[in-house]
C-alpha cells in the first residue's frame, strides 16, 4: 500500500529528470550553433578589414607607381580586394540601409580600377583627373579602414560580439542601432554619401546608373492616349475595361522609362491572369506586354513562330529587326530580335517576343532595351577589312560565320566590331574584333541548351 503511493510521483520524477537532461542537451546544441554562427561572422568581419586595408595600401602604391606594368598589377589587386570586401560586408548581419553606401563605394572602387586597368592595357596611361579621383578614393578607404579598426578594437576588448546583432534584431529592429558595429557603420555611411561621383566606362559608373532612355522621342502622352495605344496594341475591344495599375509619386523621377501600366481582363476567360502592358509617358511607346496563359499542345514549329514574331514587329512599327536567338520552354518560344542598320547588327537595340506554340499568338513583348538604347546612329566605315580582322583571331579558331555588329561594352559605350562565330576545341564561341582598332574586344562562350538556338 505504502509502496503504491509512490508509483505515480516516481514516474513523474523520472520523466522530469529525462526532460531536464533532454532540455539541457537542446540548450547545448543551441549554444553550439550560436558559436558557429558567431565565428563565421567574426571571420567575415576580419576578412573585410583585411581586404579594405589591402585596397588602401594598393591605392597608395598605384599613386606612386610610374610604370604601366605596375599600374595594371596594382589596379587588378584593388579590383579583386574591393570586390572581396564588398562580398564580406554584404554577408554581415547588418541591415541594408546601414551598409548600402559603403557597398556601393566598394563596388565602384572595384569597377573603376578595372576600367582604369583596361585603359592602361589599351595604351592610354592614367591622366591627372583619374589620379586625383584615386587619391580621393584612397582617403575614403583610409577612413573606412580606421573605422573598421575601431570596431575591431572593441571586438577584441569583448565589448560586444557580432552575433548579438542578430538576436537584438529579432527583439526590436529599431534598437539594433544601439549596437556598436552599426553605430560605427552608420557614421561611415554619412561620410560615404559625399564620396566622389565616378565618371568612367563601367557598369557601375554614375552616368550609366542615371542614364535616360534614348529611343522614346519627345511627345508627351496623357493617360487617355496611353489607354488607346494599349487598346490598339492588344486588340482589346474598348478602353472601358482597361484598368490602371496604381503608380507611386516617384514614377516619373526614378523609373528607367516612366510609364503608364494597365491590366486588361480577357473577355473570354475573366478568371485568367489579365494582359499587362506598359506604355511610356514620353513617346507613347509600348515598353512591355505580358499575357500569361496556359499553353496547350504545340501546333506550330519554332520557325513558324519566328516568322509570326517578325510579322508582329513589323505590324507594330519595328521594321528592320532580325531574329538572333530563340529559346523554347513551357510551350512557348522566346525570340530575341536585334535592330539592323546598313547590314550591321545592333545588339544594344533588342526586342524580345514570346510566341505561344499552340495558336501562334504573341504572349509577351519586351522592348525596354530597345527603347533605352535606340537612336539615330552614324555608323563609321570600318578601317579593317573582314579578312584583316580575321587575322587578329587565333588561327585555329574555326569560323562558321562573320558579319559586322555593334555591341555594348562596360557602361554605355558601343563598339563597331566584326563578329566571328565558330568553334574552338569543341566549344562554341563568338569573338568580337574592333573594326576600327583591330583589337579583340570581347569573347562570348555559347552555352549549349537543347531548347535554345542561335539563328545566325
Amino acid at each position: 500500500m505504502r509502496f503504491r503511493r509512490w508509483i505515480l510521483p516516481g514516474i513523474l520524477v523520472i520523466a522530469l529528470a529525462i526532460t531536464g537532461v533532454w532540455g539541457y542537451n537542446q540548450y547545448k546544441i543551441k549554444k553550439n550553433y550560436e558559436t558557429t554562427m558567431q565565428n563565421s561572422y567574426q571571420r567575415m568581419f576580419y576578412d573585410l578589414k583585411d581586404h579594405v586595408e589591402n585596397v588602401q595600401v594598393s591605392l597608395s602604391k598605384v599613386l606612386l607607381a610610374d610604370s604601366q606594368e605596375q599600374n595594371v598589377i596594382l589596379l587588378s589587386q584593388i579590383m579583386q580586394q574591393a570586390y572581396l570586401a564588398e562580398e564580406k560586408l554584404a554577408q554581415l548581419p547588418i541591415s541594408h540601409k546601414d551598409t548600402a553606401k559603403t557597398e556601393k563605394f566598394l563596388n565602384q572602387v572595384s569597377d573603376y580600377s578595372y576600367a582604369l586597368a583596361s585603359n592602361v592595357l589599351e595604351g592610354s596611361p592614367m591622366d591627372q583627373d583619374q589620379k586625383d579621383a584615386l587619391l580621393k578614393l584612397q582617403n575614403y578607404t583610409d577612413y573606412l579602414s580606421q573605422e573598421l579598426m575601431g570596431v575591431h578594437n572593441k571586438l577584441t576588448e569583448g565589448v560586444f560580439n557580432i552575433g548579438e546583432i542578430k538576436r537584438k534584431e529579432k527583439e526590436d529592429i529599431e534598437n539594433a542601432n544601439d549596437n556598436m558595429l552599426n553605430v560605427r557603420l552608420v557614421k561611415l555611411e554619412d561620410k560615404m554619401t559625399k564620396s566622389p561621383e565616378l565618371i568612367y566606362d563601367g557598369p557601375f559608373s554614375d552616368q550609366v546608373l542615371s542614364g535616360k532612355a534614348k529611343g522614346l522621342g519627345d511627345k508627351k502622352v496623357d493617360i487617355e492616349e496611353a489607354k488607346k495605344i494599349a487598346q490598339e496594341f492588344t486588340g482589346a475591344e474598348n478602353t472601358e475595361s482597361i484598368e490602371v495599375i496604381e503608380e507611386g509619386e516617384q514614377m516619373d523621377k526614378t523609373a528607367w522609362i516612366p510609364s503608364y501600366t494597365f491590366s486588361i481582363p480577357k473577355e473570354s476567360s475573366p478568371e485568367d491572369s489579365p494582359i499587362y502592358i506598359g506604355v511610356s509617358k514620353t513617346g507613347g511607346k509600348v515598353v512591355w506586354m505580358e499575357n500569361s496563359r496556359a499553353v496547350n499542345k504545340p501546333k506550330i514549329s519554332v520557325e513558324q513562330a519566328i516568322e509570326k514574331g517578325q510579322k508582329y514587329l513589323v505590324e507594330k512599327g519595328y521594321e528592320s529587326m532580325e531574329s538572333n536567338y530563340s529559346l523554347q520552354y513551357d510551350g512557348l518560344v522566346l525570340i530575341n530580335f536585334a535592330y539592323k542598320q546598313n547590314d550591321v547588327t545592333i545588339y544594344t537595340d533588342l526586342i524580345k517576343v514570346k510566341v505561344a506554340l499552340d495558336t501562334g499568338d504573341i504572349v509577351g513583348m519586351d522592348a525596354a532595351q530597345y527603347l533605352k538604347a535606340h537612336h539615330d546612329r552614324n555608323i563609321r566605315q570600318p578601317e579593317l577589312t573582314q579578312s584583316e580582322a580575321r587575322g587578329k583571331v587565333k588561327t585555329d579558331f574555326d569560323v562558321d560565320s562573320a558579319r559586322l555588329a555593334i555591341i555594348p561594352k562596360e557602361g554605355a559605350k558601343e563598339y563597331l566590331c566584326y563578329e566571328f562565330k565558330g568553334t574552338y576545341q569543341g566549344g562554341d564561341f563568338i569573338v568580337y574584333v574592333d573594326a576600327i582598332t583591330g583589337k579583340e574586344v570581347k569573347i562570348l562562350k555559347i552555352i549549349k541548351d537543347e531548347n535554345g538556338t542561335l539563328t545566325f
Binding site: Y33, M251, L334, G427
Partner: protein, 268 residues
C-alpha cells in the same frame, strides 16, 4: 496531501515540458539559420556573369543544388508538375493530385520508353529534363575543354524559390516584379553581385530568414523567374518592395514609390 503532491508534480512536469519545447523550437530556428549561412558560404565559388540578352558568358562553375528524385509514393508539387506535363502530352489521364501512384508510374515508364531513357519508372534529373522540368544537374558525361557544366537553370530555380517564398498568392505579374527586383539588385552597386548573394544577404528577405526559401517553387514561380531573367521588368528598375500591411521598418517608407502590384509596393 496525496493530491497536492500529484498536482505539484504535474505542474512541474508541464512547466518543464514547455521549457524543453521552447528550447527545441529555438533550436529549429537556429537550424534554419545555419543552413542559410551555409548557403551564403557556398555562394563564394559562383561567379558566373550573366547578361540578359540570351547569350551567356561565364568564368567559373556554378554551385548547384543536389538533384531531386521522384518515385512511387512521392508526393508534392514536383509530382504535380510531372503529372501535369505527362497529361499535356497524353501519357497520363489521371488526376493531377501530386501523388505518385500506379497511373503516374505507368505514364512515366511509357514516357521513358518513348523517349529513349532508361525505363525504371523513376523521375531523376534526366527524365525531368526530358519533361522540361528542372530537378538539378544532369550528368553531362565526358567533358572536353570547350564544354562546361554551366547552366542557367540553377539560377532560375533559386530565383523561383525566392519568388515562391516571397510572393505566393500574389498575381502573376507581382511575382515577375519580385524576381525583377532581385535581378535589379544584382546589377546595382549598392547590393551584392550575384543572384545567390542578393537572395541570401542577411536581413534582406524575411522568407529567406524563416526558411520558406526552401519550399519547392510552383510552376507559376518558375515561369515568373524565367520571364524576369529573360528581361521582363514590370517595375521599371525598382530595387525595393514592401507590403504596407506587414512591413515593420520605418525606413522602407522613405523609399521612392514607383508602382503597386497586388499587395506589394515597388520603389527605389
Amino acid at each position: 496531501m496525496k493530491k497536492a503532491v500529484l498536482i505539484l508534480s504535474m505542474a512541474m512536469l508541464v512547466t518543464l515540458s514547455a521549457t524543453g519545447y521552447y528550447l527545441y523550437i529555438n533550436n529549429q530556428n537556429q537550424n534554419n539559420f545555419s543552413s542559410t549561412t551555409e548557403g551564403i558560404n557556398s555562394v563564394e565559388v559562383s561567379n558566373a556573369e550573366k547578361n540578359k540578352d540570351g547569350v551567356e558568358e561565364s568564368e567559373t562553375v556554378n554551385a548547384t543544388l543536389a538533384p531531386k528524385v521522384l518515385y512511387w509514393g512521392s508526393t508534392g508539387q514536383d509530382v504535380k508538375d510531372v503529372q501535369w506535363k505527362l497529361a499535356q502530352w497524353d501519357y497520363y489521364n489521371g488526376a493531377v493530385d501530386g501523388i505518385y501512384g500506379t497511373e503516374t508510374y505507368r505514364a512515366v515508364r511509357a514516357f521513358q520508353s518513348k523517349n529513349g531513357l532508361g525505363v525504371d519508372g523513376v523521375v531523376g534529373p534526366e527524365t525531368a529534363a526530358a519533361l522540361g522540368l528542372n530537378f538539378g544537374p544532369v550528368d553531362g558525361g565526358t567533358q572536353g575543354a570547350g564544354t562546361t557544366a554551366i547552366s542557367r537553370n540553377d539560377d532560375i530555380y533559386l530565383l523561383a524559390r525566392a519568388v515562391h517564398a516571397e510572393a505566393r498568392g500574389e498575381p502573376y505579374i507581382g511575382k515577375v516584379a519580385v524576381a525583377a527586383v532581385i535581378l535589379n539588385r544584382v546589377e546595382n552597386p549598392s547590393f551584392p553581385n550575384t543572384i545567390a548573394s542578393v537572395i541570401y544577404q542577411p536581413l534582406a528577405f524575411t522568407a529567406v530568414a524563416d526558411g520558406q526559401i526552401n519550399l519547392s517553387p510552383d510552376a507559376d514561380s518558375l515561369k515568373a523567374a524565367r520571364d524576369a531573367i529573360n528581361g521582363w521588368d514590370p517595375t521599371y528598375g525598382c530595387r525595393y518592395y514592401w507590403n504596407p500591411a506587414t512591413s515593420t521598418s520605418k525606413w522602407i517608407w522613405s523609399r521612392q514609390v514607383v508602382i503597386k502590384y497586388g499587395k506589394h509596393w515597388f520603389g527605389n
